[in-house]
């Protein structure tokens, strides 16, 4: 018999058996999605996409590795603290062990750090972890419920406790938010971890301490500390500013209940410098950022948000943009892989290569007419030429990087650091403009020539050492590394020789110069008599002083000049060339399209709204309202836009009636109707006006004034 047939009318409740099945499916779907990309097959099979994924995967794993390494120390200490405190906290002192982690001001970035902490703690099976965000803790009730729920509902341990799975499933089903109280938690803890050997610390992480409501937090801490006798709580606070924030929020009767230990993490700018030096400027990767793009990304970081995660995403965007430009960019990989990819290039790709700006100088420097034609028209011929070109390019970037290493060591610690002291600053400086033309460069050179002998020798020796070390560690394992290292070693060898000269040089003035002074004095007197005009005299004196200086320079100074000019010609001018003078086809390796990136990763809502309202044609692409100039008013534009443009001409207060009149006259200008008496306004126009005003108000440009009747206040300036 159907169970719903009954004498009385009624509702019949069935437990929905499908819930469990539903629960399983999304996870499966996720797994299948993860393997394929969001993009279709037609993109993922392209060579450029393969190159991109390979490059990004390499970079990404490198970045992750680096971040792990730099966070490792703090993390280690923190884990030790948590496990240590969790174990030792058996005595009934009501003191809540607390770790304050000074994270730095970008709070979203640090959530990740806490995630890794959570993972570590789970991996060691040392603790149950609950991350409490301030948005979940508006009231004390919500905070406690959220904490208890997530501590009891911690999924991560289900994997290794398969046998207890079913039991837990039942547990969770019974769990309702309102039932989550401390009482429940201690009962649960006694059930699961009651034995001494199974004890786990209960770690509660508040990642954004500053955002918490002070009174909620105080009560929360009081509750936790009251329970520490029964439940081994450990509190971890993520503090973005300084310890004063903690003491400012917690009054004495609360702060005396916690046992605070302070941990310091690496400051964000240091993290970024590390990232730039070791990953972005690494010679391992074929992809490079141009000076401007590089500066743009670091600028966002330093001037706006201090977000390393944001920086990495911006960099990734540049990478995508670079590879997406076409299959020709698939050549932007290591040399041997590029050789393989050359064969796959189609005619279109070759055309892309020919259209690169640096291709033209290359063609122009060929003086054989036939070869020029062959390069321009014959794909196969160009394909034969390509390996050599690519090799030149790659070598150039490697040499650039080596010289940068040398140069950084050379000018990085000069007083006042005219060119900047960090590798990234120098990189940007060198790539943007010819460095030898900058006044800062000249200043540096002057400072170097003023150095004492010991200082200079020591400095240069250090530079050479550093470069050699760099060659050995970073360049040598690479594919074209040997070729690069050979060139560089030769340079360094000649530098060493010159340095030896400097070392042996004496400070004494050359003796003949001293002897000759008497004779020159005599000569001066005789010479000066012959002078005709004052102008001539001046010129002669100048020349003579120059001569004197040249004569009086010591052996050391000459040797110093020698070595400096050698550095300038052989290292700086030869290798630290700006991007304009880089070898042909460098565009394949360097991303420089900064305007696209800027448009796409920096939102400018006000500017976008202004364009949309000021010039609707920009977005709508309609024929009717094309504007000759920005301030033009056309009746075919949307009402809102007309009203917006009219309001731009007003002052702070806008008279609604005047505004309406202006609006009407604009609309009528297009219609060319006969004159209507001033007083009578077409109700249709008035309705349109009212509606547009309401829309403008909704957009937040105006507000109805309360002080002055029939006036609106402008809210923007």
């Amino acid at each position: 018999m159907d169970p719903t047939i009954s004498v009385s009318k009624g509702c019949f409740v069935y437990k929905n058996g499908a819930t469990r099945a539903n629960k399983k499916t999304p996870s499966k779907r996720k797994r299948t999605e993860a393997t394929s990309s969001l993009l279709g097959k037609e993109i993922t099979t392209q060579p450029f996409y393969a190159a991109y994924t390979e490059c990004w995967n390499q970079l990404h794993s490198h970045i992750v590795q680096l971040q792990m390494a730099s966070n490792a120390r703090t993390l280690e200490q923190l884990v030790e603290f948590v496990t240590g405190e969790g174990a030792s906290n058996m005595d009934n002192t009501e003191m809540l062990p607390t770790a304050a982690l000074l994270t730095g001001i970008n709070q979203p970035d640090h959530l990740k750090q806490f995630e890794t902490l959570t993972q570590r703690l789970h991996a060691e099976q040392a603790a149950r972890v609950c991350v409490l965000q301030s948005r979940d803790c508006a009231t004390l009730k919500a905070a406690v419920e959220c904490m208890v729920y997530s501590l009891m509902d911690d999924q991560s341990e289900l994997v290794d406790l398969e046998d207890a799975d079913d039991e837990r499933e039942r547990d969770r089903k019974r769990l309702r938010r309102t039932q989550c109280t401390m009482k429940q938690l201690s009962a649960w803890y006694a059930n699961n971890f009651g034995d001494v050997d199974k004890r786990r610390a209960l770690v509660i992480i508040l990642p954004d301490f500053e955002c918490f409501n002070a009174s909620v937090l105080q009560d929360f801490i009081l509750i936790l500390s009251a329970q520490t006798g029964r439940l081994p709580f450990v509190l971890v606070l993520g503090v973005a500013t300084a310890m004063t924030a903690v003491h400012g929020t917690l009054p004495y009767h609360v702060s005396s209940k916690i046992k605070l230990r302070v941990f310091q993490t690496q400051p964000a700018p240091t993290g970024l410098n590390e990232l730039l030096d070791q990953v972005l400027l690494s010679p391992k990767y074929a992809f490079h950022l141009s000076g401007k793009a590089f500066k743009f990304l670091t600028h966002i970081f330093l001037y706006y948000d201090f977000s390393i995660h944001g920086f990495i995403q911006g960099f990734k965007y540049c990478l995508m943009e670079h590879y997406f430009a076409g299959n020709a960019y698939a050549l932007c990989t290591s040399y041997s892989q590029a050789l393989g990819r050359i064969k796959q290039l189609t005619h279109d790709d070759m055309e892309t290569i020919r259209r690169l700006p640096s291709f033209r100088p290359y063609v122009e420097q060929i003086n054989d007419c036939k070869r020029i034609i062959a390069v321009l028209t014959d794909d196969d011929y160009l394909k034969k030429k390509l390996p050599q070109l690519l090799r030149d390019c790659l070598l150039h970037f490697m040499l650039f990087r080596c010289c940068l290493e040398f140069f950084t060591e050379l000018v990085g610690d000069l007083p006042r650091c005219p060119l900047g002291k960090l590798r990234r600053e120098l990189y940007v400086n060198c790539l943007n403009k010819p460095i030898q033309e900058q006044p800062e460069y000249k200043e540096c050179w002057q400072m170097l020539s003023f150095m004492s002998k010991e200082e200079f020798v020591a400095k240069l020796a250090k530079c050479i050492d550093r470069t050699e070390q760099f060659l050995g560690e970073q360049i040598a394992p690479l594919e074209l590394g040997e070729a690069c290292a050979d060139v560089m070693r030769a340079e360094l060898q000649s530098l060493k020789k010159l340095l030896n000269d400097v070392e042996l040089a004496t400070m004494e003035l050359p003796t003949p110069a001293i002897e000759s002074t008497a004779s020159t004095d005599a000569r001066t007197l005789t010479d000066l008599k012959q002078v005709a005009s004052r102008h001539e005299l001046k010129a002669q004196l100048l020349q003579r002083s120059k001569q004197d200086k040249q004569q009086s320079t010591s052996e050391f100074a000459r040797a110093l000049n020698n070595i400096l000019s050698h550095i300038e010609t052989h290292l700086v001018l030869a290798h630290l060339r700006p991007l304009q003078h880089a070898p042909p086809l460098h565009e394949l390796y360097v991303f420089s399209d900064i305007s696209t990136v800027r448009r796409n990763i920096i939102g400018a809502p006000r500017a976008a709204l202004h364009t949309a309202l000021n010039n609707p044609h920009f977005y709508m692409q309609c024929k009717c309202c094309e504007l000759q100039e920005q301030s033009q008013l056309v009746s075919t534009m949307p009402d809102l836009s007309v009203l917006y443009k009219l309001h731009l001409e007003c002052g702070r207060m806008i008279n609604l009636f005047d505004w309406l009149q202006a609006f009407r006259s604009v609309l009528r200008a297009g219609d060319d109707q006969e004159e209507v008496p001033q007083e009578q306004i077409d109700p249709q126009i008035q309705a349109r006006f009212t509606r547009a005003v309401a829309e403008l108000q909704f957009l937040g440009y105006i507000k109805m004034s309360k002080r002055k009747t029939d006036h609106a206040t402008r809210l923007t300036w």
Partner: protein, 460 residues
Amino acid sequence: MERICAALEPQFPCRETVITTLSELIGDCNEGYPPAIYIYGHSGTGKTSLTKAFLQQCEQQQKVCTAQLNAVECYTTKILLENVLDALAQKEQQLGASPLRADNMLEFVEQLRRWHGSSARGFLIAIDNAERLRDMDANVLPVLLRLQQLTSLNLCVLLLSQLPFEKYYNKTGLSEVISLHLPQYNKAEALRILSSDFEQMRHQMLQQQQLTGDGPRLALCEQALTQEFYSNYLNLFLSVFYKACRDVPELRLTARKCFAIYMQPVLDGSVECTDVSRLWRHIAGPLRSALTQIYMRIEKPLGEPNIEDQSVRKLAQSLELPYYGKFLLIAAFLASHNSPKQDKRLFVKQHGKQRKRMQTVNARAKNAEKMSTTLGPKSFSIDRLLAIFYAILEEKVGLTCNLLSQISTLVHLKLLSFVSGEQNIMDGSAKLQCTVGLEFVIYIGKVVGFNVRQYLCDFM
């Protein structure tokens, strides 16, 4: 009754009168309890621990059910009631019974009434931080005070708080309770309580020395550590701390911490243990620095430098803000401490010459003491903040999302705060306030090379 007193008095020196009074009131479960007792006194005077020990004694020696709980933990009435029931029922019912439920006062009273025939002779309920009860449902406090009458059980409610009972009176009135005041310890009493630590300290020190395995030091330690030596130390200690803090547990903790430093020169053999004045010279500095950190409980791992030197300058320099973030903070400070009327004069290049009128000069002379930097921050709108930001920044920057999100970052860091209109930021009526001080901002300005004083009308 006497047994309770005898058990408690050695535990709580200087509290003999209170213990006697309490035991007279609720010491015997065969007599009728008073309906409610209100115990008050400052923090650290032993209210909670005394009550706890007393209730334990009662429970052990007589057939009494007790419950002690903290009102802070009871953020809803239901939790309060169920916690009380749970604690009382622990002895009454065997394990395995379903937990008692009480959704409201009525059910609670009903549950209690069911225990009429039970073996318990009395019920004692102690509630810590009783001032919180005032903010709970309106019926909680009156019912608790009259619980004996409502349940007709031999039941007493003890309320513990730091406030005098006068603060509880409300419109409907409350029934009378017996008040019991725990006064603060005076200096002699504090000394007596702290010196009861001696045995433990001595034991600890000796153990420490044994662990290091240093023979002569151990002997020296054993010889020096006498009751007199310790009370000398406590005298010195209290002469510094007693003015600032009378919280005995806190004093005890700090005294323990500082004692090791006090012992150091004696153990090194550089100072005789009887030479009090030289010992004082050694300990005065550490004691004073410990005074600044009282209640803070910052633990330092060994070998790390003292980070407690928190002058404003260091703080401002250590705060890492992005470049524009710093300028936004400065702009917010300027907006908070200048009146909008002065903006034109301060930030526009050609603002025209200001006419000096006798009136304004007089007014200014009169208001000399009313500096706006000392009056505290005033609120400003986001538009004004941005206008000032663009005026003080030399370079041109676009008004981008990144820049706007800086404002909310500053709010998150509690450097700015919303005064009003947090919900309607969109219509421009939200008002912000800058929460940092002048000195802090001046240091921030120094970091970015901006002279803040130049743009404050107070310093013009």
